[in-house]
Symmetry: C2
Subunit: 209 residues, 2 copies
């Protein structure tokens, strides 16, 4: 690589880093949230979830605990449980996996669980029925300052362009979720990440409000 090429690459990185519409992308694999009660039914010998890895949104973490999701037509094995525990148990899967389980799953924001289907969650020591299976609606976590800067409020839809190789994609219907303790990050699921060829370096840009 000669100096000119290097300069070009560095300029591009600086330009991308300085772009105020630039958004970090977090890809959510299928996962489970539990209530304290469901946790104790599934893991009767354990005191609490243990931290495998903190997630980007603070306090959230990937735990060392796993369970199987059992539907009428099939099972998704070894699904990670995210912590900390919540007021309602909830199961988030990709649309491709809804076909595996054999249930009709709506696309919803986390927590919007009215009329969502029920599955069985199974570990070697216990099982529970959870009403609250969703395919995650794509969304952007952001601080209140970010929301002011973008000129958006809670629940607004924006479009985000994914500048990837070979599969450049614009995701419309992306919901804004400002909260004072959120860090700026777009969440998409594995189907969406694969469709847009997202890798660890891929960033998004808000292109329409």
């Amino acid at each position: 690589m000669d100096e000119d090429q290097l300069r070009q690459i560095i300029r591009k990185i600086i330009e991308e880093e300085m772009d105020p519409n630039r958004i970090r992308i977090g890809v959510s694999n299928h996962h489970i949230h539990l209530t304290d009660e469901d946790f104790h039914t599934l893991f009767p010998d354990q005191k609490e979830l243990t931290v495998f890895k903190p997630l980007y949104q603070h306090e959230e973490f990937a735990s060392n605990q796993f369970a199987d999701i059992v539907g009428p037509n099939g099972t998704i094995k070894h699904v990670r449980i995210l912590g900390p525990n919540r007021a309602h148990s909830q199961v988030e899967i990709a649309r491709s996996e809804a076909f595996t389980l054999g249930i009709d799953v709506p696309i919803r924001l986390s927590g919007n669980l009215d009329n969502t289907p029920t599955v069985k969650i199974v570990t070697k020591d216990g099982e529970v029925e959870i009403q609250g299976v969703i395919i995650a609606k794509r969304h952007i976590h952001m601080s209140l300052d970010d929301a002011a800067r973008f000129g958006v409020k809670l629940g607004d839809s924006v479009s985000v362009e994914i500048e990837s190789e070979e599969r450049k994609t614009i995701f419309e219907d992306v919901i804004c979720r400002p909260r004072k303790d959120f860090l700026l990050e777009m969440h998409i699921d594995t189907d969406e990440a694969n469709a847009a060829n997202v890798n660890a370096n891929t960033i998004g840009k808000i292109i329409k409000k």
Copy 2:
């Protein structure tokens, strides 16, 4: 439903049907194309592929024959073989499945097989190594008349808006493939269909050339 609502629905259907930029969407599940030679190695007792269902592009068909795709880290079982046989064997999988197999698979148009990885294809009666695994680059089959109407030529990239519920998406980097015997149809894979919440009634529209 009252008459006004019915009128509104019918108007919307007519408007969509008449839209000259409207494109039918075909979702490609993972599949295998074989040469005559590889077919006979895998199915020594059978004379030729038998037709399960014709596909939209004429002469192409889904066959009644299946095989497993075996990679270094995992297997995709029971993958349908498409006919008729071709001059080169080729395996098309989704990006999510490349992780299952444990190989690095490029995004390519059908037939562009230089430097693509190799997998083993296995039936109960035989096995072959196929060099030619790709993730399909999204593309639009079209007639020469369609190409003239859209003002595009072979290899041009266009953007297609998918007007679905909850996951409206614009796929950029969609390659135009005019040929005199092609019917107008956009081909995307299962990851892309899930990311855009595509169902049997979803249509696409070319929005940028």
